[in-house]
Amino acid sequence: MSPAPFAFVGCIELREILGRRARDERELMEALEQVPAESIYYHTDSVFLRRASGATVYANDFANWVGAQIGDHVLAERLGMVDPFQFGTLEDLREELVSIVAEHIADLSPVPRVVFGEPFFFVRSHLVEVPTGLEVRTLAEFRRAAAEVDMSAIYLHALDARVRRGIPGGHFAQWIGRELGLVGLADRLSRVNPYLGGLEDLRRRILELLDAELAARPSTA
């Protein structure tokens, strides 16, 4: 039986301003407990959708705000270490963030706050999915499409699929393992993590793995 095709789907993020803001670390913690999960997602996971390269101080908005606006570099570093793609659900991620802030401020009085900087504004993400029209059946076709498709498709299949669809290795690894039977390659793809890079870096690393596989197994083309 021939493999089912892989259809690349891109996405756009519509951003909804929640009107909620935090001016100190306690307000940040309280808001983290209460805002919709799509807001946690916006400030952690989908940061990668808005950032092609890995070039920011920390990989999530909370850490960047605490560091740049409050000047609490200890909490910024602790929040900055949170890798959003290591959590099974957004609620697990929320719990981790709340716990880090709660433990940090437990012994602090007064709680660090913004003096000269800007408050933190909570935003919520609405993802609109858009089929790209690219549909592939072989590894070689997959490689060509992955190189040229809109970056948002890389995000949706490789990262968002892990977070919102609960697919641990993402769609790429799932399809390559299940439909092409390339379990080793699927495993290597599922371990590519964008935490310290951006989407461009992620795409580059995916292409390198595909190229290595194609070079070793030309018959799969």
């Binding site: 891109g10 756009i12 800007e118």
Partner: protein
């Protein structure tokens, strides 16, 4: 080729790979839907500038897009100008008769204009009351381009009752939004990379334009482009330049406009000229509003671009400079903080001393300047080009009319 006639395909050269194809696919989901834009002028100002490009692009993508413009007399526009100032915090008294006149003209426009659409986007406060006459069909969205974070309460109370009749509002920054009972979305402004202000220029063109402005290209140039407004801190920029001048032989250009029809602007321009007097390496240029090529040439000739504002709307001059590969030192306020990635594309600063320190740091490290310039151009390519703006409006159309 006029700006309005640039085809979408031309953006393949400048937008991120795949973006134009993605826009074509996205547009398929809303092909044939009617998208109506309404504002208060067809020429002049940032809203008209962007609509002049977005409307033909949407049409080319198969979205049935129209652009309506309200009409009014001098008294009407006096009131709307007062709205504009009051919504940004100014104390502006308005008599009941003036508000009645505003509503009278708005109702006449509602009869005259073709306002039936799947999505009707009303730009800024001038046409906001048209929503009184909204038809039963279609979604209405208020697109606010101004900073609404600290509005004058009485004027805002008057306008807010109209805003609450919309289905949603759109703001340029979360900080500009205001508590409302309707959903509020975030859409950043954008620059058009193919417009006169941003299109590539030959080195010879840049030299010629600089010569006409009497700005020699003989030493590193620091540049700030902005209206002569105290919130842009032009005197602070001169003070930072003086701190740097002890160590580096640089030239400072302060290029702006708006002084001709703004008494406050004229006052600030006089202060800036007084602060700059006696230094042949400081150039204060009062340029007309349509000096797009001159601004383009100055930004391309600059070594470092400053936007040392103490209060700022979005500050698209930052994106313009980064698009030209320049490191930017900006005030830590408003949209500058969204555009400048500290340590990556430039620096944000909170004082004259901070600006001077970062200038010295950059002037002493050409490799860092080059790397920041490249990172800035890519940051703009991904986030602040008109293709992204188009994508956001299409996503709004999909989200609200599906």
């Amino acid at each position: 080729m006029t700006s309005a006639s640039i085809p979408i395909d031309a953006y393949r050269e400048v937008a991120p790979p795949g973006v134009v194809d993605f826009l074509l696919r996205l547009a398929e989901r809303v092909r044939g839907r009617r998208f109506v834009h309404v504002n208060s002028t067809r020429v002049g100002g940032g809203v008209a500038e962007i609509l002049n490009r977005l409307v033909p692009m949407l049409t080319e993508l198969g979205v049935d897009t129209t652009w309506e413009v309200i009409e009014g007399d001098a008294d009407f526009f006096t009131v709307t100008k007062a709205f504009h100032n009051a919504l940004q915090g100014a104390e502006v008294p308005l008599a009941d008769a003036q508000l009645e006149h505003y509503l009278h003209i708005s109702r006449k426009n509602a009869v005259r204009l073709a306002l039936a659409g799947d999505l009707v986007l009303i730009h800024d406060p001038q046409p906001a009351a048209l929503v009184e006459a909204r038809p039963r069909e279609g979604r209405w969205v208020w697109r606010c381009h101004i900073d609404l974070s600290t509005p004058h309460r009485r004027v805002w109370a008057f306008l807010r009752r109209f805003i609450s009749w919309y289905d949603a509002a759109v703001f340029s920054l979360p900080a500009f939004a205001h508590p409302l009972s309707i959903p509020q979305f975030l859409v950043y402004p954008s620059i058009d990379p193919l417009s006169d202000k941003n299109r590539p220029l030959e080195a010879r063109e840049v030299e010629t334009i600089l010569a006409t402005l009497a700005v020699p290209a003989d030493k590193p140039m620091l540049l700030q482009v902005s209206r002569f407004d105290r919130f842009k801190d032009p005197v602070g920029v001169i003070n930072a330049y003086r701190m740097v001048k002890r160590y580096y032989d640089v030239r400072l250009v302060l290029a702006g406009g708006g002084a001709a029809d703004d008494p406050e602007g004229a006052l600030v321009l006089a202060e800036v000229r007084a602060a700059a007097s006696g230094d042949p390496d400081i150039h204060v240029l009062d340029l007309p509003a349509d000096a797009h090529l001159q601004i383009n040439a100055l930004q391309r000739a600059a070594t470092i671009v400053l936007q040392k504002s103490t209060r700022e709307g979005f500050g698209l001059t930052v994106a313009e400079a980064m698009w030209k590969g320049k490191p930017v030192i900006g005030g830590a306020t408003g949209g500058i903080m969204v555009q400048v990635q500290p340590g990556v594309t430039g620096y944000t600063v909170r004082s004259v001393e901070g600006a001077a320190f970062r200038l010295r740091q950059l002037l002493g490290d050409p490799g860092l300047m080059r790397a920041m310039g490249e990172a800035g151009r890519e940051h703009v390519r991904q986030n602040f080009l008109i293709t992204r703006h188009l994508r956001d409006y299409l996503s709004l159309l999909v989200h609200l009319t599906q």
